[in-house]
């Protein structure tokens, strides 16, 4: 909850409301990937995050 609250304040401050649907879809998709057991860092030559 704290994260969602912070995200809301962040998007409000940055005036980036248009990111909301994107975040929703990506998180949904991401959750599916996580549930399907997708792995993370290993395939990257260099992570940019």
């Amino acid at each position: 909850m704290e994260f969602l609250k912070e995200l809301w304040v962040f998007l409000k401050t940055r005036k980036k409301y248009w990111l909301w649907p994107l975040i929703f879809i990506l998180l949904l998709l991401g959750a599916l990937i996580v549930l399907s057991g997708g792995s993370a860092l290993a395939p990257f030559i260099y992570t940019i995050f």
Binding site: E2, F3, E6, L7, F10, R14, K16, L19, L22, I23, L26, L27, L29, G30, A31, I33, V34, G38, S39, A40, L41, A42, P43, F44, I45, Y46, T47, I48, F49
Partner: protein, 616 residues
């Protein structure tokens, strides 16, 4: 009660912790030195424990905790990048998003959980922006009251480079270059294509560049192709990358290899493959382009700030060849570069930002700077060393007088012996500056080969760095600026060059390296350049005394200084690391504190495999 601020960098690469007490830098160290995992990016629990202990501050007494970047801003960049490039990037998204959903989105909670292991968290956790942390690490410890600030690296949140101005206790960021247009990532893309490991092999690319043929047809062609196809450089030094050639924003690799091969006519080099002249020319071409970009950024920083002094930080600020060019072109009257310019330095920058920004605390610049020679890590007593002697049943001679110790060590060095030199506080940042160093005689024509084969166990194509008495700098190098942190490259003085014809471009790479081209051959690169470290009595008195003793004995004021570490491991931290490294390589002597270890006297360590390999 003193006011203490803890700075933390973590979860990207090179985690570190730093502590300020009443605004003074008291301690800082990378986690890798304690965990013994190179470029360790985990939460720096061991480094935090060390800095708290060193400062004599309990965790509950901290008045502020500052993290070096803003994860939520990074997440925004990530989402917008995937959105902008969609549907390209799905593969990268599939790989990246689980990590965010599992961990990185909840960074604040992760930090809180980790910090709670030290006790009750006494204050809020603040977040500084990545490049603001770099800027703070560059400006606040610098000796300047006012300075232009240039930060250049791969990427932080959005910014990849910034120009700012520091005035007394304030920093103002004036301009930012945003992802994906990044000088650091451009350089890393070439690092990858030429077969080195991204984020650690950039030094190798820089060291390979001098083997390229300056003004050679192929080098010029490569440079033109880079400028025509890969990167557009503006007058102010900002760049636009042609993203059709790069894969890092949406893919798993750095480059679009098919397009690069079409462009340059050479395939990506296999890391184990031969380094042909074409790759050397390509390395030179990108080095020249990078220098041009950095130079333009520096000139623009001068224009818009009107400052006569420059401070720098960020991974690209470790490109000491480019730094040397900025210095030579006299864009600024004076330059100071943060020795821990990479992300490890972000911990210090975050702490400094926490101290000065948003408050009106007095800042008094210190001379030569506020970094204490970057000797901010742990120190060990003779008692600690005695424990190692007992543990390994080692044989060591205790020499109480420093003069006797340095004279004896100097006499070994003069005889061509290789000495592990472990003294005082460990360095903060990527360089060994004379407290965790392996030393040799720079005049010895065999020293490079010997260090490479017997100590480093590699056929490295880079020469070693010289440490020189600061007051003797201009007798050896055409460099009129101190370089205490090995961050400037300058040519060896022409009067010291050896007139013999140099090994030509058709010679194998190592024949060219080992060709004797000056009277300090072990530290002279193929283009007669050297990555200089100046040693001052005030910042490192024992190392200075050793250089002085060597000079008294031989008339030479220069020693080879290379980092004290073994393959796959970070630079040694504790006496145990040092003794094991000493025993697993063919170093002749180890001088640890006031103890002198002769290799011939040591019992064989059964668990040590002879020939364990070392590298810097």
């Amino acid at each position: 009660m003193p006011e203490a601020i803890l700075g933390i960098s973590a979860y990207y690469h090179d985690s570190a912790a730093a502590i300020l007490v009443d605004g003074q830098i008291v301690a800082a160290a990378q986690e890798e030195r304690f965990s013994r995992i190179k470029h360790d990016d985990r939460f720096p629990a061991l480094a935090i424990a060390f800095v708290l202990d060193e400062a004599g501050i309990s965790f509950e007494e901290l008045s502020a905790i500052v993290f070096y970047e803003k994860p939520i801003l990074k997440f925004e960049r990530l989402l917008e990048t995937y959105h902008a490039f969609a549907p390209k990037g799905f593969q990268s998204f599939v790989a990246a998003i689980p990590l965010w959903i599992k961990d990185k989105l909840f960074m604040k909670r992760m930090l809180r959980d980790e910090l709670a292991k030290f006790g009750k968290i006494p204050c809020a956790i603040s977040f500084s922006e990545h490049h603001l942390s770099h800027a703070a690490s560059a400006f606040y410890p610098s000796p300047f009251e006012v300075a232009a600030i240039l930060t250049i690296d791969g990427v932080g949140e959005w910014a990849t480079s910034t120009i700012g101005i520091g005035t007394n206790n304030k920093i103002k960021i004036l301009k930012e270059l945003h992802f994906p247009h990044s000088v650091g990532l451009l350089y890393s893309a070439f690092t990858y294509y030429i077969g080195f490991v991204v984020n650690s092999g950039e030094y190798k690319l820089m060291g390979l560049a001098p083997y390229g043929i300056v003004n050679g047809k192929q080098t010029i062609e490569f440079k033109q192709k880079i400028l025509n196809q890969l990167v557009d450089i503006m007058d102010d030094g900002s760049i636009i990358l042609n993203m059709s050639y790069f894969d890092f924003a949406t893919g798993l690799k750095m480059t679009n290899n098919r397009k690069w091969e079409q462009l340059f006519g050479i395939p990506p080099r296999n890391p184990e493959g031969e380094i042909t002249q074409a790759y050397m020319n390509l390395a030179l071409a990108i080095q020249q382009v990078t220098e041009e970009i950095v130079l333009r950024m520096a000139r623009h920083a001068r224009e818009i700030t009107g400052c006569k002094n420059l401070v720098m930080a960020g991974g690209v600020a470790l490109n000491c060849v480019a730094n040397g060019k900025v210095l030579n072109h006299k864009v600024f009257d004076d330059i100071w570069i943060q020795p821990a310019s990479g992300d490890a330095g972000g911990a210090l920058g975050a702490a400094l930002a926490g101290w000065y920004i948003g408050s009106d605390r007095l800042r008094t610049p210190q001379l030569p700077d506020g970094m204490c020679g970057s000797l901010l890590g742990p120190e060990f007593t003779d008692k600690d060393i005695q424990k190692i002697i007992q543990k390994y049943n080692a044989k060591a001679k205790h020499i109480q007088e420093v003069e006797e110790l340095t004279n004896e060590t100097a006499s070994f060095l003069a005889k061509g012996k290789i000495v592990g030199w472990f003294q005082g506080r460990m360095e903060y940042g990527p360089r060994a500056l004379g407290n965790r160093s392996i030393l040799g005689d720079a005049r010895n024509p065999e020293m490079q080969r010997k260090l490479n084969l017997s100590i480093k166990y590699r056929e490295g194509f880079r020469p070693f760095a010289p440490a020189v008495l600061e007051e003797k700098l201009t007798e050896y190098f055409d460099l009129d600026h101190p370089s205490p942190y090995m961050l400037f490259v300058g040519p060896v003085k022409q009067s010291r060059w050896i007139a013999d014809p140099v090994a030509g471009f058709d010679s194998p790479i190592l024949k060219r390296l080992y060709h004797q081209r000056s009277d300090i051959p072990a530290v002279t690169h193929v283009d007669y350049s050297a990555r200089v470290q100046t040693v001052h009595l005030k910042t490192n008195s024992r190392f200075y005394q050793l250089l002085k003793a060597f000079a008294n004995l031989t008339g030479c004021d220069v020693l080879v200084n290379t980092s004290f570490n073994v393959r796959g491991e970070p630079i040694v931290c504790a006496p145990d690391d040092a003794y094991r490294c000493f025993m697993s390589t063919e170093m002749d002597y180890l001088v640890m504190g006031n103890y002198l270890f002769n290799k011939e006297d040591q019992p064989v360590l059964p668990e040590m495999k002879k020939g364990a390999k070392a590298m810097d």
